[in-house]
Symmetry: C2
Subunit: 236 residues, 2 copies
């Protein structure tokens, strides 16, 4: 937690006094070992970042006076389309992608996505929100990514993807592609990443005929936890 | 498992016949659903890669005839120095770094590394080997990385690091560095990455006075699982 993410209902007066209990309080006590007078980086969900000074603390809560003056870090201009990973992997990838600065994540079905993944409690809104909050706290950001579920591959690719990729560089990570992933793109990108085992040929063909360009990262096939940061670090 | 990693004692004759039981057999049956006649990518630990054709299978084992003809993918010319992460994170980072092609990994102590991490069973040689094998199987590689434990920061940095960084670009990832991490380096790099919370100022000063250049990846502070692939994808 490099930033304490605050929500409107943490505020107890109009002068910037907030009160925290629960997970954030516990983390600040146990990990940061805060004492009265300590200053920490804070940010308001959806808003500015700044500092908070600990004013009082007891066994279950603390209060801080916060001052919010800075803009959060810039977002990456990317829409990330991910074949839904297995639940444990999804949790980590959501955290990472959020920390790296992705603001639009589409979870897509694919032939090699197990049906049970769509039933996972990890997809419950509170669980998704938890991972996203951890990612924002990690990277000192306050702007939540938008998450979309697309459990039907074909209608998404045929009806929505053509609109989505307009005015972006549309790429699909594909280990057997001819071209390597470009570097240091300074304009918007739409990036699709397949499931373990990859998109099947039918899916790759659909994505290509929609306009996505297959690109690879070299001879090595990476798991999605490594592929997401690797591709994003290369692109931006 | 994009490649079945074989060891010398899997061979049951000199003509390239191998027999597998246990984890690899189970994975091939349950995940790849192999049948007699199927061809899979295989590689010999420390050696060539090629294909294996399933010749026979029963409830607990299978046999393949393998032909090893190709060289494994190129290694990254990097020495990765990692402040020892917490055990669960270490497992994932070892797998990722191996999959990405790192061949020399040094696990270093640092002020913010909890002492208990050095006692973790994850550091047992069999446990380390398991993660490395998973990384090689992921990325179709056969060449094991070398792993070194350096539980004393100062003697390592004073006595060993100056020799290690010779003829390399020596970098330390440091979120508050002045310069951004360079891109597309085609020569050897030594890359140090701190613990959660970062190297303390004393440690950063020691690393800098040894010749390491602090570099950052932008305003965002990444956790080590995302920082390792991000930095390596940017450098190479």
């Amino acid at each position: 937690m490099n930033l304490v993410l605050l929500f409107k209902n943490d505020f107890i007066n109009d002068a910037g006094r907030i009160r925290l209990e629960g997970r954030r309080f516990k983390h600040m006590i146990e990990v940061h070992r805060v004492a009265i007078g300590d200053q920490l980086r804070v940010g308001l969900a959806g808003g500015l970042i700044g500092t908070g000074r600990v004013i009082s603390l007891d066994d279950t809560s603390l209060e801080m006076d916060v001052s919010l003056i800075d803009t959060p870090p810039a977002a990456l201009p990317v829409t990330l389309i991910l074949a839904l990973p297995r639940p444990k992997v999804l949790k980590r990838v959501l955290l990472s992608a959020t920390a790296i600065g992705v603001k639009k994540i589409i979870l897509l079905n694919s032939y090699r996505v197990e049906k049970s993944f769509w039933q996972s409690p990890v997809l419950h809104p509170e669980s998704l929100q938890r991972q996203v909050v951890l990612g924002l706290e990690q990277s000192c950001d306050t702007i939540f990514p938008e998450l979309f579920m697309k459990p039907l591959f074909k209608p998404f690719v045929e009806d929505e993807l053509p609109v989505l990729i307009k005015n972006t560089l549309p790429l699909v990570a594909h280990p057997v592609a001819q071209e390597t992933c470009p570097r240091d793109i300074r304009s918007p990108v739409t990036l699709a990443i397949g499931p373990e085992g990859g998109f099947i040929p039918y899916e790759i063909d659909k994505l290509i005929s929609c306009g996505l360009k297959p690109v690879h990262l070299g001879e090595r096939i990476l798991h999605v936890e490594a592929a997401v940061p690797s591709l994003l670090a290369r692109l931006f």
